[in-house]
């Protein structure tokens, strides 16, 4: 009850005296608008201005306050198509055709897993993390030409055809998220190791990306492996090819990364010393829990 709360305050506060009372509130805008000043009336009846020249601004704007011009908020144009530009993620496209070409020209080894650093070492892509670029995406140009089995790790896939083209040849596709700090380590690995920083652990994806990275249809790295197998069967039935046996391939082929891991074979927290050809690993328990959490 508001009365009781007011009385509660009364009991706790100082004694109400003649000097303690609050001043009255100023008259509201509604009252002021209903009772215009002399100056306002004179302005309305003047021989100049937008009222007398039939040049009133659009409905809803006070002509006297506007002083004959549109308010600033209306002069600045709206560009609603640029909404969300600061948060949008960009992925540079790589087509199946370029992949096949790189494999044929022996710039990429299909027997080892194909990763972001592998593709960046070809120097065909310049990924800039400060420009909100988060890696590479696979496009389906050249789906008919593609004919090598590969273990591909890419950041985004837009079409099912691309996934089907890789799996028809017997390859494996996963979509993987890298946050900008780990991206800068992956793009130029040698430069990163020369800096002398420990390998960062990869962050979890942002909230609007978690759905796609846990989706088996996108072959997300956080998805359930059983549901991924189901989706492979479904795709094979849809596009009309037979899934080859996975047991024929080598163990290197089936390498998969931990969600916190960036490089194959290197764990987060390790310091790589290129000069002395050594790796330093943390022994303290708290570092290990942090990097492996």
């Amino acid at each position: 009850m508001p009365i009781e709360r007011g009385l509660q305050y009364l009991r706790q506060m100082q004694r109400v005296t003649l000097k303690n009372l609050p001043m009255p509130l100023e008259k509201t805008l509604k009252w002021q608008q209903a009772h215009p000043d002399e100056t306002k009336i004179k302005a309305i009846m003047s021989r100049k201005g937008p009222i007398s020249r039939s040049a009133l601004p659009p409905y809803g704007i006070d002509p006297i306050q506007a002083e004959g011009r549109l308010p600033w908020i209306l002069t600045v144009p709206k560009e609603p198509y640029y909404e969300g530009v600061e948060e949008a993620r960009q992925y540079l496209p790589i087509s199946l055709r370029t992949l096949q070409r790189l494999i044929d020209l022996r710039r990429i080894n299909p027997e080892k897993p194909i990763d972001l650093p592998v593709l960046c070492n070809t120097k065909l892509f310049s990924i800039q993390p400060d420009q909100r670029q988060f890696g590479l995406q696979l496009t389906d140009e050249g789906a008919d030409l593609f004919s090598t089995p590969i273990n591909l790790e890419i950041q985004w896939v837009a079409s099912e055809l691309a996934i089907a083209a890789i799996e028809r040849c017997g390859g494996v596709l996963t979509t993987r998220y890298f946050d900008p700090i780990s991206l800068s380590a992956l793009i130029d690995a040698k430069k990163f190791f020369e800096r002398g920083e420990p390998i960062p652990r990869c962050d979890t994806p942002p909230i609007n990306a978690v759905e796609s990275y846990t989706d088996p249809k996108q072959r997300g790295y956080l998805a359930n492996p059983d549901s991924i197998r189901e989706e492979r069967q479904r795709l094979a039935q849809k596009y009309g090819y037979k899934l080859p046996d996975p047991s024929k391939f080598s163990s290197l082929f089936r390498l998969k990364k931990d969600p916190r891991q960036i490089f194959y074979g290197l764990e987060p927290g390790w310091l790589v010393n290129l000069k002395d050809q050594t790796i330093l690993k943390p022994t303290d328990a708290k570092f290990q829990t942090f990097y492996h959490s």
Binding site: L7, Y9, L10, R11, T17, P22, P24
Partner: protein, 217 residues
Amino acid sequence: KLGIVDLHPSIWQTSPRLDILYENIEWQKTYKKIDWAYTPPHHEYPSMRGKPWPQKGTGRARHKSKFDPQWKGGYKVHGPKGPTSFFYVLPKEKRVEGLCTALTVKLHQNDVHFVDSLDLPTHQPTYLQELAEDRFWGPSVLFVDDTDIMPHNIMFASAKTEGFTLMPVYGLNVYSILKHTTLVLTIRALNKIEKKLLHALHSCDNPKDQPAPPDEP
């Protein structure tokens, strides 16, 4: 302590509207105010029959009379004219509400005390002062009784002490209630106040159609 007193919540537990208290106090201060300022206008000034010095020849500015507004000692064009009164009557509901909130404020800040009657054994002012000190009644006390005529002893005692005032019920007002730190009511005064205030709170007749309010408790 003699017993427990029942109080009516419409009077003693209303919402503490400090703005209504402020309005009542403003009204009490300004309705008696008369502003006696008067500046005589142009036609009430002496006319010195024209120009103080000729238009041209002297090196001074040109003037027509010595009592123009730009001169020292000249008339004022739109100055205050005559006694202006600030009289207005605050609506009855606000006055009643003001009294009720003043009483609730005093009650909930432990500044109200109820007393059998205002009889004292002696007329010595020290007796009353010591009594008030023992009971932690503040520096200023307002004694409210039923009628104008108060007992002798309390009259002499309060006349000698600073801050103690006696008041009948018809003199009760928001300014006095808030000015004095404590309020001491007799039971007869309480009954009368409650009856009058409740009648005022719950009657919705126009002043013309209203029957006379009840006088005797």
